[in-house]
Amino acid sequence: MDPKRRVTLKVLGATLGAGAFARALAPIWDWGKEQSLDEFLQKHYQELSKADLEQILRRLEAKTEKEYGKKVSIRDVRPQEGVEFGYALNLSVCIGCRRCAEACHIENNHDRSTNNSYIRVLEMKQGSLDLEHGNADYDHAVPAEGKFYLPVQCQQCDNAPCVDVCPVQATWKESDGIVVVDYNWCIGCRYCEAACPYHARRFNWKKPEIPADEVNPDQAYLSNRIRPQGVVEKCTFCLHRTREGKLPACLEACPTGARVFGNLLDPDSDIRWVLENKRVFILKEELGTRPRFFYFFDG
């Protein structure tokens, strides 16, 4: 082999090698462009001081305004003393109209193109409660003959498998029973999504797209602020509303009044009346997840 050919091959090899290396590192460089140093160094939500958090909220507001063209307010809303939330749903009156899923979609700033929502309404065969045979993709007039409708969202389990499997503790249960995610701490491994027996967690495969005039500006750090790409998200019982005494968006949207929400610790609450007077059940009881979400039939 003549020396010139050897040199050429070496140079070619080195160039290709360097090119491949740069290509392999590209996600990190691109990621660096998306994320500021402040963001990279941000601590876990539960370790943030009030001042740190304040600064982060303002930074996130500015970022949202820059990226989505809408002025938003992002708050930190903490659990209320003496409140533990419970939710119940009357399957006798649910007609499967998916207005709850739509209200969630709008309230929680979900990606428009995927019609994402924290609620999946399953069309079920009457006489069966096998979730795995429920169809979430029905597209005909409801209610259909021989079917009933089972809306499924995060069950806010007391013994939550999703929380147990998180390798970085980016998700945890708060004192009012709501399981939350620190979207800035989540590494996107999706273990929680796999662990949830109710398919209640969603992964942001891409950056959510929402037109400026459709962004809900009333946001909280742990709930409906627009999530970054590559993190897991879930229903928070609309904590930005419910921790301030309001009802969740899905309940307000329900045209049949199938949904009942309230404080489990208040013996006079609506939710307690349902638990004490209706034969309620929970989904996949055999798994021992102890949900805070109950279902019942009339009669």
Partner: protein
């Protein structure tokens, strides 16, 4: 401080919408008494098919009830209870509750009829719907319809799964 629930008292109980709009674009409503106070009292018809003018075309599928089960001849702003008393039209919930007691009990405890506003009565009221907001008293069965927001997520498509 505790906010009591606020139950809607719909305008449609005492007035009808006209095609005309006011300066703000809201439809102008005409009170039932506008016509009924000017006319001699007619006896209540035997069936909905006999109704004319404003009430023509009214469908009636509410068990074996007749007009007089609820309406009072000559008093469009009143309703007739089973025991012969009359009540204000706007208190229609009391009328419905005579037969639908279980629904009423559930309604009073927030387990029927839905709501908006606040679960926490120390911060704000529950805004409750009226029976007739969701149920047309003449055809009370709740109608279904086409569902909204079909999921657009490959994993959920029937037959396209794993």
């Amino acid at each position: 401080m505790s906010y009591p629930p606020v139950i809607n008292r719909p305008e449609k109980l005492t007035s009808v919408e006209t095609p005309k709009k006011d300066a703000l674009g809201r439809p102008i409503r005409v009170a039932c008494v506008t016509c009924h106070s000017l006319r001699p009292d007619a006896p209540l018809p035997q069936s909905a098919g006999e109704l004319r003018e404003f009430h023509e075309g009214l469908r009636f599928t509410h068990g074996t009830l007749t007009c007089a089960s609820c309406h009072v001849p000559g008093r469009v702003d009143q309703l007739s209870m089973a025991d012969g008393r009359t009540i204000e039209m706007l208190d229609v919930i009391e009328l419905c509750s005579q037969c639908h007691g279980q629904k009423r009990r559930a309604f009073d405890r927030g387990a029927h009829g839905g709501m908006m506003g606040y679960w926490d009565s120390s911060r704000g009221p529950k805004l409750r719907h009226n029976c007739v907001d969701c149920h047309d008293p003449h055809t009370p069965a709740f109608a279904g319809g086409q569902p909204v927001l079909r999921p657009n997520d490959r994993g959920l498509r029937q037959g396209g799964g794993h």
